[in-house]
Amino acid sequence: MKFSLKDIAEPLIFFVILLLLWEVLVEIIKIPAFILPPPRDLYVAFVDKFYILYKHALVTFMEAVGGFALSFVLGVTFAVSVVYSRHLQNTIYPLIVILYAMPKSAFAPLMVIWIGYGLFSKIAIAFLVAFFPIVVNTVVGLKEVEPELLDLARINRASELDVFAKIRLPNSLPYMFAGIKVALVLSVTGAIVAEFVAANEGLGYLILQANYSLDTALALVILLILALLSLLLFMAVEILQKKMAPWSAEVRQLEGSF
C-alpha cells in the first residue's frame, strides 16, 4: 500500500484542529479540569509521570503478551486436537462452548482466589479472553480446505501428516492471523480488567489511582497509552502476516489491480 502526501496530511490536520478546538472550548465553556482537562494538561501529565507510566505500562504489557502467548500455544493445540479427534469434539468442545458463553472477565475475582494477587492471575484472564478467537479461527482455517485439494492429496496418496503439514496448517494461517489480531487487543483489555479487580501495579491499577484522586488528565493519558500499545501489537502482527502469509492480504488487492 502506498500513501500519498494527502493521505498523511489530511488526518494530521484534522487531529490538530480537533486538539485546538478541545483546548479552546474547554477554556470558553469553563469545564472543570476533573471532568475534561485541556490537552495541555494531558501533555504535562505525560511528561511529569513518564517514568511511572512506563513502569506500569511494562507490567500490563507483560501480562497481556504473556496471556496471549499462552492462549496462542494452547489455542492452536486445542484447535488441532478438536479437528482431528471426534472424542474431544464430543467431550471437551461442549465444555468450551459453555465457557465461551460466560463473560470471561467475570472470572477475575475468582482468579485472585485461585491464583493469587500477582502477575499470574492477570495473565490467566488475558489468556481466557484471548483463547477463544484463536481456537475458533484456527478450527475454521483447518477445516476450510477446498475439497478438490483433499481429492488431489488422496489421488497422490498423501499421508495424513502431509495433509496436515502441507495443506491444512498453511491453509489456516490467514484465519489464525485474523484470530491473533483480535486476541491481542482482547488480551490487553483482559489484563486491564484483571488489574481493576485486584492489583498494585499496571495501567489498570494506575487508572483507578488516578480516578480516586480525580486526576482525569492522567486517566486519559493512560487510555491513550493503551490505544498505542494495542496498535503497536496489531501492527507487529500485520507485518508478521505479510511475511508469513502474503497471500492472505494480497490476494484481494492484486485481483483488484489485475
Binding site: R154, I155, N156, R157, P170, L173, L254
Partner: protein
C-alpha cells in the same frame, strides 16, 4: 489394443437421510490405451461423478471399474487429475505446486525437478517458476494445474472440465496446448466437458451421456486426422459430428427444439 479403462454396469446412488438421488445408471464404456476419450453430457448428468469413480475417489454403488484389468477399489496409483478450478496451494510457487505430487509420493526430488521444469517450458510458463498463484491469470493457473497432473508421468490423465471456467479464447489456446502435450506423451486421457465442439476437437471417441440419471446414449468414434487444427472445425465432418451429438443430447432431454435453436 486392449482397453485400459473398463467400466461395467456402473450405478451410483447418493443417499442423504431418507432421500436418495440416482446419479448414474448402468454405465458401461471402455477407453483404449493411449486414446483421448471425452464424456459429454448436460450439467448434473453425473459425468464428474463417473470420473471420480474411475479415479477411485468414489466407490460405485454397484458395477465395477477396472484399470489395466485390475478392479478399482481406492485412489489409483499413477493417475493425474485436473479439476475445473486450478486448486493450487496459495503458499507455494508455480514450481512448488507442480512438485506437490512428488512430495506426497516421496519420490526423488532432483530427478522430478527436471521434469517439472521441462513441463513448465512445454506449457509456456518459463520465467514464472517462482511466481505465486495469485500473481497468475486463470489460464496460467490452469496450465500449472496441468503440469502438476503430469509431473509424475502418470499412465492416465483425468480431466474434469479443466477449461470450463476460462474464457473462450483461453480455452481454445489451452485445448491446442493440451493436444500438443498429449500427442507427445500419448497418455490415456479421459476428459469431461459439456462443450460439444471442444470434445469433438480433442477426442478419439466421445461418450454421450443423458441427463440424470446419467446413462450412456452412444459412443462415437471421431476419425478426424491428427494433429488437429482449428481449420478442421469448419470441415463438414466436424460440423456433422457436433450436430449429431447435439441432436442426441436434445432428444435425450426431451427437447428437440434445443437442437435447432442452440448455436454454441
Amino acid at each position: 489394443m486392449a482397453p485400459l479403462i473398463e467400466a461395467e454396469e456402473v450405478f451410483k446412488i447418493f443417499k442423504s437421510g431418507a432421500k436418495s438421488v440416482q446419479a448414474l445408471e448402468r454405465v458401461s464404456f471402455d477407453v483404449e490405451q493411449g486414446s483421448f476419450v471425452s464424456l459429454v453430457g448436460p450439467s448434473g448428468c453425473g459425468k464428474s461423478t463417473l470420473l471420480k469413480i474411475v479415479s477411485g475417489l468414489l466407490p460405485a454403488s454397484s458395477g465395477s471399474v477396472s484399470v489395466a484389468g485390475r478392479r478399482v477399489e481406492g485412489p489409483l496409483e499413477n493417475v493425474g487429475m485436473v479439476f475445473q478450478s486450478p486448486v493450487l496451494l496459495k503458499w507455494k510457487s508455480v514450481l512448488g505446486n507442480i512438485m506437490l505430487p512428488v512430495e506426497f509420493a516421496r519420490l526423488d526430488r532432483t530427478r522430478y525437478l527436471e521434469k517439472a521444469r521441462a513441463l513448465v517450458r512445454l506449457v509456456g510458463l518459463e520465467g514464472f517458476e517462482e511466481m505465486y498463484p495469485y500473481q497468475l491469470s486463470g489460464g496460467m493457473q490452469q496450465r500449472v494445474s496441468l503440469c502438476r497432473a503430469l509431473v509424475t508421468d502418470p499412465q492416465i490423465l483425468l480431466m474434469d472440465e479443466p477449461f470450463g471456467a476460462l474464457d473462450a479464447m483461453t480455452r481454445d489456446e489451452l485445448d491446442i496446448e493440451l493436444l500438443k502435450i498429449w500427442d507427445g506423451k500419448r497418455k490415456t486421457a479421459l476428459f469431461v466437458t459439456h462443450n460439444i465442439q471442444e470434445a469433438v476437437f480433442l477426442s478419439d471417441a466421445i461418450i454421450v451421456m443423458s441427463p440424470r440419471p446419467g446413462r450412456v446414449i452412444e459412443r462415437l468414434a471421431i476419425d478426424l486426422p491428427r494433429p488437429r487444427s482449428f481449420e478442421m472445425m469448419s470441415s463438414s465432418k466436424f460440423c456433422d459430428t457436433t450436430l449429431r451429438i447435439r441432436g442426441m443430447l436434445a432428444s435425450a432431454s426431451g427437447n428437440p427444439a434445443a437442437a435447432a435453436g442452440s448455436t454454441t
